[in-house]
Amino acid sequence: MNTQDSIYKTDALIAENIEEYLEAHQHKTMLRFITCGSVDDGKSTLIGRLLYDSKMIFEDQLATLEADSKRSGTQGEEIDFALLVDGLAAEREQGITIDVAYRFFTTEKRKFIVADTPGHEQYTRNMVTGASTADLAVILIDARKGILTQTRRHSYLVKLLGIRHVVLAVNKMDLVEYSQEVFDKIVADYTAFAAEIGIETFTPIPISGFKGDNITGPSENTPWYDGASLLPHLEAVEVEDSREQAGPFRMQVQWVNRPNLDFRGFAGLIASGQIRPGDEVRVLPSGKTSSVARIVALDGDRDMAVAGESITLTLADEIDCSRGQVIVASQSPLEVADQFESTIVWMDEHDLVPGRAYWLKIGTQTVSATVQEPKYEVNVNTQDHLASKTLDLNAIGVANITLDREIPFAPYDESRDLGGFILIDKISNQTIAAGMINFSLRRAQNIHWQATDIGREHHASMKHQTPSVLWLTGLSGSGKSTIANIIEKKLARMNRHTFLLDGDNVRHGLNKDLGFTEADRIENIRRVGEVARLMTDAGLIVITAFISPFRSERDMVRSMMQPGEFIEVFVDTPLEVAEGRDVKGLYAKARAGQLKNFTGIDSPYEHPEAPELRIDTTEMTPEEAADLIIARLIP
């Protein structure tokens, strides 16, 4: 009954005819899968068993394993397969897997890459990471316990990340006396649940990772089960090639290859479809068309390339195309937009700040993006929608995202490469979230920028001045408003056209709907930035006096302006000095707990790292400060 000999590296063939063996192994395909479950479900044991049964464990490793099993194993005298896969020292001591580990094993038909991730709720981000590249998911269930909350969570994540093949491995069948009744009940329960969350098909298999039942071949203990065993099933599941290649051609340009002036190659990995020399293509977002001249490779030009391959192609015409743009089949272009609804998985210790600018990397393109307040958060255990103002570590929510430019994309459902993105914090550079585009918002496509005939240069030249933004930032009571006032008076005397935007004044009108939470402070600065930009378009010198405590928002305003137009002035007054002045009595109130989110007291102030000017108010008068700033503006 045991099919092991036919499945695994057949020692006889290797010994007798290595050439034939190599020939056979050159045609293996590859399958990536993820195992979902926790230590209690026997997940590590199952993976250890797969490695062991496919002979991926060598004698010296086995010796170490046996010694380790005796020392810290949980299986008595038996080999504890879990110890094979629990990698880092810290987690071996704690007895849990805390990260994503990748394991490899191979059979005659396939190479397998297993993403091994922990199953607990606090490791949702790890599971999402592992699932993002998987073609198949093995969802483990303890036969004694049936479908648990975590099963629902794992299944939801598997569906969310678009994994098309699901195996329901009902494990520890040895502990329920290989009961068909138990198995059938679990399968029935799961069928109902799977339909609820949109998993259309799945393959249930009764197994015991510990005893090895139905892993490599049919088990004598489950005569009532006539389906495939786990490994033969994994070997037989259809790989993604045909589905990927059936779609229209899409390739995100990764790098432009220019060894000399006569050659311009566009390098990238084909996300979908096929391509041949002569095929008509279109470059997005520009929309320019051309045709493929050559598919260039080290071992000679190629006739054809398909989804999943990394290639270099040249075009028949000299058209602009650079990293981040997408080359597509000319007859089926992609949608281009700058606003999306997306599902976001938060992966950082610091919560999402709606309105803050983050980097968004999609394929090979990085753009600036802001996330709006979530429409709702999803309870990963029940899939209920909850109201939420932010997303914290491991939270999943749906929110609109606005980019600083239009990008070509596809909904994640259609393409992982063109619809999956990550968010990166601009200060820490950490990957803080993973996102999946659901659809574009029509708004962006309907509002066109109205080109005006009288441009900003014209406005500025009529005023005989260079538009600028003098951005004063510093603690409350540092002297921003005082200095700003003096600057404006002095500039007026010099016949300069100015406008002063003051923090307190703006909050009486334009921003009176905003409070002092982190999100409201960011929106406050964003609006002021937009107004300042309109005013520079009108040719004005804008002076602003806002605490503007966050580095990323000051940088956001800087990025709205023309290069050199934004002059950041750090009005540097130590907290003790500002608090000592306390002109408006605000520090006293904040200390007494009557004012919340007060900068310097219970809300942070992030010092500018490289301001154009730093004013030390303990060393100069407001008058001197104003002169210094004007000298920087008008040399």
């Binding site: 290859n257 390098a267 999943g308 990550i422």
Partner: protein, 300 residues
């Protein structure tokens, strides 16, 4: 429409090339660490493919211990020349001065020449991204390492603070002073490497093939007497038919007795053998978590 089924090696190749191009697109000053072993040979071959018809747009860096096999030095110089790439060789001057060697200094040898040498070389040239040929199947600590592995300004790896890596998107952003080690062949196994070398006809150091070589046996390791710096304590080198499954400093690298003279024979032997690849290296035997510790300190 005809579909083409990609083999596992084609998938792995495409992934590695994709990773290399991401690095070249995002790095200011990339470099490829080249150790002359079979993994380096595959990595270099993939780089040639990734950037053809340009030569790979970065130099090769060999962090040398002065104790490599002579045949490795020969192939190193030839491979760089064939690829049209600049070859940088770095030897830690302090280790040089103190005469650090594997016979007298044990663990200090690896620490000074390799770990310290690598840090010094990266600092000296200001490389911000360095390709390495490590694979996840080599060792448990490596199974969890990212493809883009961040190092602090003092080159430390923090296994608890790794960036999530999703899909094919790699976040290469970093602060000044930080650097990234990038492992484009993370998902290859030893068997994949051999099959690919076979399929693509990649040149490797002849030491991987069996030949009669002068050897002595010490502490259970069969060592090759590669030059006259090998102190013989009354031992008489014996000619044995040996080859190496992994290459490092010759006094630290154990040989296996073998008759495998061709690539298929080497692969055959590898498949039928029952001990893992790193067993021939003295470095891993200390303790279960030794690799993880070394990595945290900056070893590749």
């Amino acid at each position: 429409m005809d579909n083409k089924t990609l083999t596992h090696l084609q998938r792995l190749e495409a992934e590695s090339i994709h990773i290399m191009r991401e690095v070249v697109a995002e790095a200011e000053n990339p470099v490829m660490l080249y150790s002359v072993g079979k993994d380096s040979a595959v990595m270099l071959h993939l780089a040639k493919k990734a950037f053809y018809p340009s030569p790979p747009p970065f130099p090769l860096l060999h962090v040398d211990t002065t104790w490599k096999f002579q045949e490795m030095y020969k192939l190193r110089d030839k491979a760089a020349k064939d690829a049209g790439m600049e070859l940088l060789v770095y030897q830690n001057p302090e280790a040089q001065e103190r005469g650090i060697n594997p016979f007298d200094h044990g663990g200090l040898h690896t620490d000074m020449w390799k770990t310290e040498g690598l840090k010094q070389a990266l600092d000296k040239y200001g490389f911000d991204m360095a390709f390495g040929g490590a694979r996840r199947d080599e060792e448990k600590a490596r199974a969890k390492e990212r493809v883009f592995s961040f190092r602090s300004a003092n080159h430390r790896w923090d296994p608890k603070n790794q960036r999530p890596e999703l899909w094919r998107i790699y976040n290469a952003r970093k602060a000044k002073g930080e650097s990234v080690r990038v492992f484009p062949i993370s998902n290859w196994t030893e068997l994949d490497i051999w099959q690919y070398i076979h399929l693509e006809g990649i040149e490797i150091v002849p030491l991987y093939f069996s030949a009669p070589r002068p050897t002595v046996v010490r502490d259970g390791l069969t060592l090759m007497v590669d030059d006259d710096r090998f102190p013989l304590n009354g031992e008489e080198p014996v000619m044995r038919s040996i080859r190496f499954r992994t290459l490092g400093c010759y006094p630290l690298t154990g040989a296996v007795e073998s008759e495998a003279k061709t690539l298929p024979e080497v692969i055959q032997e590898m498949l039928l053998t029952t001990t893992s690849e790193r067993q021939g290296r003295a470095i891993d035997h200390d303790q279960a978590a030794s690799m993880e510790k070394k990595k945290q300190e900056g070893y590749f």
